[in-house]
Amino acid sequence: MASAPSKLYADDVSLLVVLLDTNPFFWSSFSLPFSKFLSHVLSFLNSILLLNQFNQVVVIATGCNSCDYIYDSSSATSTGAESGRMPALCSDLLRKLDEFVTRDQQLGEKDSLGPTTSSLLSGSLSMALCYIQKVFRSGPLHPQPRILCLQGSTDGPEQYVAIMNAIFSAQRSMVPIDSCFMGSNNSAFLQQASYITGGVYQKPQQLDGLFQYLSTVFATDLHSRTFLRLPKSVGVDFRASCFCHKRTIDMGYICSVCLSIFCKHHKKCLTCGSVFGQPQTDVPSASNVK
């Protein structure tokens, strides 16, 4: 599309990067079947592409052991044949997804995975941000990027640092992270991500109406969000996880140099190596009292 950059971009051209959670342990025990979920998502992606001819969609799959680009609407190659039942976009995407799942399984054969395995959200967030940076540097005219996380598995506290870094860099680049969390409890990471970057966090109550949620809330582009009101979340769970054990903590110790969080008192900061002094006792100095 060589003529596209010369055309004037409208305000509402968007680049949507979808992070698709493909944790098999989650999907195998979830009320909404994966096939139905995929059908909702595929229709939603189609509708995004219909909204504006310059809209772009990128899909990144979040697996348990790896993450990979599944689909990019701006790439010229579309080898999938358009069958009667679905457009070329879908068959392309599904084929690549299948290949990804196979590879992911092969990578995971060494470790023992269980139902509490979390998907590598930090990896896919980083990949999304890299792609967006590439788009930023592509020229003066580019669509407005945003990230949509379709997540179901629980947070892995070991990813806390990486996810927070990704969130802050998204905030810096002014890329909102929307989250559609389908799991049982609220995801603290995604709540924080949406809150900090100015995105929308939604936990759909009715999963068989997922397409309705997606098209009502998450299809809005950044320009329209200035005058459209989107649902706000009630509160944000700001709990952090400690850097040493990766456990979620409410109260802990913080290094004053690099702001790393620890659950126990350490002599030395594990991140930056600064030596901590003796803790002050609470007894007031006797010399002040007359």
Binding site: S28, L42, D98, G108, P115, N186, K232
Partner: protein, 597 residues
Amino acid sequence: MATRHLIKRAKYKTTAKGSGIPGVLEMTKNKIAFKPNDPTSVTMINVDFRSIKGHKNTKEGSSNPPLINLVLDQGGSYIFEFENFSDLQVCREFVVNSLAKSGEGLIATSDKPVVASHDEQLSTAEMELRMKLLQENSELQKLHKQFVLGNILTESEFWATRKKLLDGDSSQKSKQRIGFKSSMILDTLPLHDARTNKLTFNLTQETKYQIFALKPAVQQAFLNLVPNKMTEKDFWTKYCRAELLHYKRNAMAAAAEAAEDEDLVIFLKDDDILASEARRKIRRVDPTLDIEADQGDDYMHLPDHGIFRDGSKEITESQHELYRRTFLQDLNRQGEVVLEGRTIDVELDNPTNVAEALAQSRQESDATAKEERLYRTSRMTEMEDLQAPHDHPFTPLCIKDPRDYFDSQQANALKTYDDTRAGTEQLSCSLNSEEAYGFLRRSISEIEAMGLSAHMVRPEVALTVINGLTQNISSTKYQLGKNVHESVLDGLPNTTKEELLHYWTSIQELLRHFWSSYPITTSYLYAKTEGSHVKNLSAAGGNKGIGSLRAPPAGFSPCSSYASGSRCCFSTLRVGSAKENGKGWRETKWICLGGVY
């Protein structure tokens, strides 16, 4: 006001400009009759007051002749011209009273709010003030148009609650008056033109005032002489001649002229009035003022006083300074007591009584004197024109925003709800990794085979989702976020916001009048609360979709049956309803206008 029967000469006109038919206008309690002077003329008018809708009249002071225009119900009007404005006023009062008695009420016949109400005779100034206020404040004008011109409230009721606005205008003018200029003397002296050798006296109103202020004798003379003995011009001529003589500084010439003209004497001699005023001031000084009161009266504690008893004249400090006492100190104390005299009248046999009485006498005089002193000081030191107006003493109402409390509770409530609900949905995955991956791949191939269906979302599910989302968006529960000070109103577009605010103010206005008529003591108040008022209350709010009330949260007791109504969970607003006469709540929804109050 009690005249039942009024007869006046008037001219009947069909238009305001034409000449009229002279005749006699007779007004009784129920009707107006006009009989022309000319018995051959056919225009005789006999009108019942009930068919008169309103009246207009020309104002005094304008160049129009005194006309009154009686407007009929069916259209058409009668114009009568009177001989003078006092006749007009009398007739107008009569008309007003009769109309009031026949229960018509006065309705404005013009668009501009120039309406005379039943029982008040508004002055032009007040009318102008009201119009000015209405023109300045468009919100007020809208309310006025809606209620007064819509016959819901009368003009007097509307302005009754706004007395502060009407008064406030006048008190806005500063109470400080501009003082005299320092060039006062120069202004009152004549100007000397050296070229023509002429003295010019420039006597403007201001300089006359200054002369009167400077020289009270001249003022007194003015009061005495003008206009009885001489005209003002003569007075000032004489004054100028006296000033001329002063200017020339020729005492002998002055004496000579004074001998001739006794009036000039007043201007030439010293001002007696000033002297008498000075004398009066001296007499007014408080003689009980103790100007001798001095810190040195305390003879005990001043150093370097007197001769020490032991005869030594050392002035060096010593450690026993506290215990020294000088003879002079004792003497002085005795002298003080002697001068005071015996202050109590008690029998001396019981020393306790004596001691108590002495203590009491000392205390009493202390207390009253102190009060008096404080009062006098406050009166003297207060500068009236710099003080703020003393309104009714009240403390401003401080209602904390209840949302702060409720919002924090909401978050807690939702958190617990969420946790309990979430616990039930945890399904455990019992598959191992191979099975899980296999399941995933099967799902993918399944959808590849199936393709996308046209009906992936059922319509009722979609509707439920949409409703849930819009409720979430419009609810004020979820206001937590970055912008704490943003209210619900700010999120609405401007036109909607203004409409909502207008409805809010009109509802408040109606409610104010509704509740002010409780307790219902007269039938007028009863009629006022029933019928059109409440109807308009619900019309103003209900039809447009904001007249709704939520069931109260726990902790709010239902209101008593006397003041029946419903309460919004976020405010103490009561919406009265004449139809509801029991306890209970209305079961409709209400949008709480969070940021307004």
